[in-house]
C-alpha cells in the first residue's frame, strides 16, 4: 500500500489570475456540444490536442507552455465504457483557430458543411434522406 501513500503541500498560495478567459478542460470544454456559425449542431468535444513537449519526456525549464491546437471528436463511446482510447487516426480534428466562443456550447466560426466532423450527416442527407419522396426540400 506504500504506493497509495499521499503527501500534501503544506501551504496553498493565491493563484495568479490571468487577464483573459480561463478555461478548465473538464469543466468548460470536454463533452460540450459544438455549434457551427449558423447554430447547426456539429459534434461534441471528445478530446483536446496539445502542442508542445513530447509526452513522458523531461521538459526543460523555461519551455513555452503548450497550446490547444485542436478539439478532437470521434468514436469514443466504446472506449469510455470498456477503457482505452481510439487511435489518433480515428479522431477528427477541429482546429482551435476556427473556434469562435466557449459558453454552454462551443461555437465555431465556420459552417458544418466545410468540416470532416459532419460527413456522416452529409452522406445520410445526400444518399438516404434525399431519396425519400419529399426528402430533398424543406417542408
Amino acid at each position: 500500500m506504500s504506493e497509495r501513500k499521499r503527501v500534501q503541500p503544506r501551504q496553498l498560495h493565491a493563484a495568479p489570475s490571468p487577464a483573459g478567459l480561463v478555461l478548465d478542460a473538464q469543466l468548460h470544454l470536454l463533452d460540450r456540444q459544438m455549434l457551427d456559425v449558423d447554430g447547426v449542431p456539429v459534434t461534441t468535444v471528445d478530446d483536446i490536442e496539445l502542442s508542445g513537449p513530447e509526452p513522458n519526456e523531461e521538459i526543460p525549464e523555461g519551455t513555452a507552455p503548450p497550446q490547444i491546437t485542436a478539439l478532437l471528436t470521434g468514436p469514443v463511446l466504446g472506449t469510455r465504457i470498456f477503457g482505452g482510447r481510439p487511435p489518433s487516426s480515428r479522431l477528427i480534428r477541429i482546429p482551435w483557430k476556427v473556434v469562435a466562443g466557449v459558453d454552454t456550447v462551443v461555437t465555431l466560426g465556420v459552417r458544418a458543411d466545410s468540416m470532416d466532423a459532419s460527413w456522416v450527416e452529409r452522406w445520410l442527407r445526400n444518399h438516404v434522406i434525399a431519396r425519400i419522396p419529399g426528402g430533398s426540400h424543406e417542408p
Partner: protein
C-alpha cells in the same frame, strides 16, 4: 499529445512521492476575443488527492447550491491544488512529475 492521456494520471513530486491525480487542466486566453478565439495556453494542472472525477463546476467559489451536493463535492475534492506549468517536469500517459520545490496554488475559480 492528447489531453485524455494526462487526465486521471498520477501526480508525483520531485522526490517521487504521490500527490494525487490530474483532475483537470487549466488554460487561459491572453488576447481579447475577436471574431475567433485567441490561442489557449496551458496554465497548469489541478491535482486532486483523492479522485480524478470532475468537480462538476463546484470549484467556482460562488456556487453553493444545492447545499448537500456542494458539500459532498467539496469534501470529495478537499486538498485539491493548482500547479503551474513552470513546475511541471514531465507529463504524459505515465503520469505527471513536478519539479522539486513546486508551489501549490488555490485551485478554486473566482468566476
Amino acid at each position: 499529445m492528447n489531453l485524455s492521456d494526462m487526465l486521471g494520471s498520477d501526480v508525483l513530486d520531485g522526490a517521487g512521492e504521490r500527490l494525487g491525480e490530474v483532475s483537470d487542466v487549466r488554460f487561459a486566453l491572453d488576447a481579447g476575443a475577436g471574431q475567433l478565439l485567441s490561442p489557449a495556453r496551458l496554465v497548469g494542472i489541478v491535482v486532486s488527492p483523492r479522485t480524478a472525477s470532475s468537480f462538476l463546476g463546484y470549484e467556482r467559489q460562488e456556487i453553493s447550491q444545492p447545499w448537500p451536493v456542494a458539500q459532498l463535492l467539496r469534501w470529495r475534492h478537499r486538498g485539491s491544488f493548482l500547479v503551474l506549468w513552470e513546475d511541471i517536469a514531465v507529463m504524459g500517459s505515465e503520469g505527471v512529475r513536478l519539479r522539486s520545490g513546486f508551489t501549490a496554488y488555490d485551485a478554486r475559480l473566482t468566476r
